[in-house]
Symmetry: D2
Subunit: 345 residues, 4 copies
């Protein structure tokens, strides 16, 4: 059994992770910690766990590192880089669900986030987008688990950039997210009556997932690119839909592009390419690790429109974290995260 | 491996059943049938199954009975009783998710539903409310899987009637259900804009789950009782909350009643008694087989108010069907239906 | 023009009131106040007012009383009774949307709420349920505007008690409310993901609207009665549905009861009695001052089930406050609050 | 009083129109017709009208033209062009809420829709986007009332094209709509459980509002342009948000662009330009005729991102139809459609 600790277990992503790890056949959850709820029964914080005995422990990273094979962190940005150092890394594997170990370029990190407190560790970190970086993840000691918008956006566009089919700086990603992406923190903007029956864009031209997408897509095409990324808030609990636009470099047909997507994804269990004319909807991936991708070629404008859908808390956070753990520990990548999505749910 | 067939696999309950059985470690899904979608890929009807190859077969009950160990039926009332006879029963086990084998009193059935076409089989059927009838279910060949409102209502009130604590004819059940309970059939009343942002009562003093609750509660207390049952439609996908009122026969304290609930339910894995002052909410059981129950004693009126919550498609249909199958085939009752409910979902 | 001031203009009820008064042909809104947003543009707090210039003033009740013909208060309980005294009353009319001037029995008020700071004023106050107390409201200087659950519940049951048709202590009111009833205050329990896709009961056997309903229904039947009242939270913005149960004293027919409802309500513009077999749904009254009422007689249990629906912020708060103002100032009662409810909305 | 007839009064747009016209001080609703509900009480089709006596008449366009000053048509495409001819036009004014009189280019109409049956009348029709075509609308006999997506999209982008600030073929409009845009027709795809808790794109690169936007924006800039337009379905009743992207021809500042929007819109009552950093959300315009517009300049990509929000049934259909009527009949443009949007609703 892999002994797992979870730091920050009472946010939505942390709680989803606890749930997946408890259901995982090869994991034993040793310790969960929470700053806000230290000492509290987990079931009083999340009554969906009412049949399970778990207490929110005080955090002690050192101790956790001694007792666990893997530590997951689900914390606000800046918090993981304060906690993780080479000493910790020598004792256990780290999977960070926050932003601190995602961007390789420290300057970019610091210009979008805050000071980075463990730059040496960052060099060792791998970007845990499993379908793209699987081979690099194996054997690594620390994984920066991708953001929710980014997982969806990068996987949707990756083959097109890898194969040089689109104008690099023409990319526009218009993304829609359920409200759980905003977390469980108190905010008037996230009260039911403020969110329900409305849709809005937010952090226009300024969302922090932008540089993460740019770094990965730039790596894919070998050129430094900039994108437009606009997130929107949708009155639903879970799900991300990314509608991606890009100018084609040539007059490609649907089949031309299909061939490229199949080249990269046909053996990827968690990526489901939709048939021509069928497009992803978040309901078909909700509560699962699947990434649904579909696309159309608009001949009138010579653009490709790619649509990707994921569950933001699952493939966009906790599910992919478990997938990364499975890779790190040599398990079948699907263990514990392979179930048919429920519907309607 | 238990070989399973599902007749009526393209309604919401049928589809939930297919999902649970595919994920079940001891079951192989042999055949699924659908009248409306014969010959169609299941993934085209339910794209949440996009990674799975399944085709909706034409229904042939005889053949199914030859090839399967268990047949599940998820059909409109009157359809199962036309299909199931002693010959079928001699070949395989039957779990019917419809109403045909739930009521033992044929006259009551026929007055609320329609003609019953297999009265001899009905005598052999057991009412598959697992927590109450577990011992009777074992060894039986046919199970009438309870309705969604009824599972929730009966389990909420059972100990009070069994222990003679409430006035039999004072029972009022005010129930609230998500929209999936209405099924996937086309109906203007179930269009998004007609249901969203509204709440209504329906089938007032005339819902067909009334006699089912009455038959079971009458059996529990040994007296013929009548109840008031009012279902309501709530703008959400899944979940049932039953708010149950009953006049106490004496001045019972909270602890008096608690003792009785614990007597019947303390070893029931799927029933979670809430602590005093905590009440069930459907979100904590959504997408799970759990039944959450809490209650309060109102000293001003000397009434007990019991609140029960289940997922209507899971414990209220497909999950309990699997639980019944587990009992019939001697498996651990929790196999394939034991997971922490996801939240928020 | 009636000069109006609004104290507490930035809660949901206060904001609905500002909206209705701005649209009212005979009112000029002189001053709005807000403790939390003093000095702020109202449009920055409620961008639906983006085309209107209004600033949240600091509260000064004395000054308001000098300059206004009527002051509306939309404050937490205990706050209005601290502000209103005979001096204020001598200068302008008061309509209080809070609880302080609703209950005539001070002891009951103080046992359910807190100390009452203007008991002399309370004696002069009238309970502003317009359809019942219209004649008593005329000429009064202070109106206690009814609560949302109570408006709906009392109007639903009043004729039955007035005409002595039901057992007084058999009344059970199972009410369902949209989330705006909880106000705009920060509370984790009202975050979108906590409310959406769920239903729950709350304040079981302990909600403060209980004594308000009891006082009015007791007055109607001339006997002190107790009721069971259970509020539920529904994932929608607005609307209240009250499902009311009562044991009939005799075997009344539908027509017997219909006659009584028509006796009291047939000339009431804002009360719409549904035809037999038709029941209220909150969507048909949303964003209006209408009260829809329907009922059924359950012959099996000899109970009557009455269902009432209102918009909690409109007839349940701001709309009825305007209706009360119209009565106080001799206007047509419908002025400014008479529009067809929009649908779907 | 303007005598009005409404053909197709039982769709969502038709019903919203009936509501607005009944509330309009200068209009009397003479006749409403419905193919599906001929002879039925309107209140039985839309119980929000329960206090109003209206019957769905059989349609007779000739008779309507004799008796009415204005006829509104809310019909599927192709139906209005079959009904309206020069004879009808000589008797009364026509406002068509469908697509038949929106596109000036018949070939474009016929390639996206179907045969056009009154091409001569089409020449006389004016595109009823009031803020842009006000002067052209005056004195006209027939108005093609714009589509919902188009009203929002064109108004959001118009100043930029009029002033030659953006690359014509770089325009991408990613639009999000509530479900009422799909109408009240029976469709499995619009059942509550299929729409709720999900988001999807649909009619990708093929939605019929595309040529309507292109015709108007081409007219604005004097060049034939093509755009990408992607509609999305959002789990809410009402509202459209259009997120519009365009490459700037020069390095414009926020103020440069602001100046241009103010040039065109500063006196437009129904257009509300948001302050810098504030962006439209559909909740602030729901149930009103307002158009909220905000924008940002993304210096990294040299794009402008403009966001517009309207209520699809109000400014996107019935409200604008009334606005057009007001213009045609010389009334104050705001009559009957000028109210503060309610919130939360």
């Amino acid at each position: 059994m892999i002994k797992a600790g979870i730091i920050g277990a009472t946010g939505y992503a942390g709680s989803e992770l606890v749930r997946l790890l408890i259901n995982h056949p090869d994991v034993s959850v040793e310790t969960i910690t929470s700053k806000s709820y230290t000492g509290r029964d987990y079931k009083s914080v999340y009554p969906n766990f009412s049949h399970i005995d778990l207490v929110c422990a005080e955090e002690n990273t050192e101790e956790l590192a001694e007792n666990c094979d893997v530590i997951f962190l689900a914390l606000p940005h800046g918090e993981a880089s304060k906690r993780i150092n080479v000493d910790i890394l020598s004792k256990c594997r780290i999977i960070d669900l926050g932003a601190d170990f995602r961007l390789q370029d420290v300057d970019v990190y610091e210009s979008w986030y805050c000071e980075h407190y463990s730059k040496d560790v960052l060099k060792e970190a791998v970007y845990g987008l499993c379908e793209i970086n699987r081979e690099k993840i194996k054997g690594r000691r620390i994984v920066g688990n991708p953001g929710c918008y980014t997982s969806c956006s990068i996987l949707s566009l990756y083959p097109l950039l890898k194969e040089d089919m689109v104008r690099e700086n023409s990319i526009i990603i218009d993304a829609k997210s359920g409200v759980s992406g905003a977390g469980r923190g108190l905010s008037a903007a996230n009260l039911f009556c403020e969110v329900n029956e409305s849709v809005k864009a937010y952090k226009i031209a300024s969302h922090r997932h932008t540089p993460e997408i740019e770094e990965q897509l730039s790596a894919a095409c070998g050129k430094k690119l900039v994108i437009s990324f606009t997130p929107h808030l949708i009155p639903m609990n879970r799900g991300i839909l990314a509608t991606c636009y890009a100018d084609l470099k040539k007059e490609y047909s649907y089949e031309d592009i299909r061939r490229v997507y199949e080249k990269y994804y046909k053996d990827e269990y968690f990526i489901r390419l939709m048939d021509e004319g069928i497009f992803p909807e978040t309901r078909w991936v909700k509560n699962s690790n699947f990434v649904d991708i579909g696309f159309a070629v608009d001949k009138r404008t010579n653009r490709v429109i790619v649509i990707g859908a994921i569950d933001n808390l699952y493939k966009g956070a906790a599910g992919q974290a478990v997938q990364n753990m499975n890779i790190l520990f040599g398990l079948d990548e699907r263990t514990g995260i392979d179930s048919v999505p429920p519907f309607p749910v």
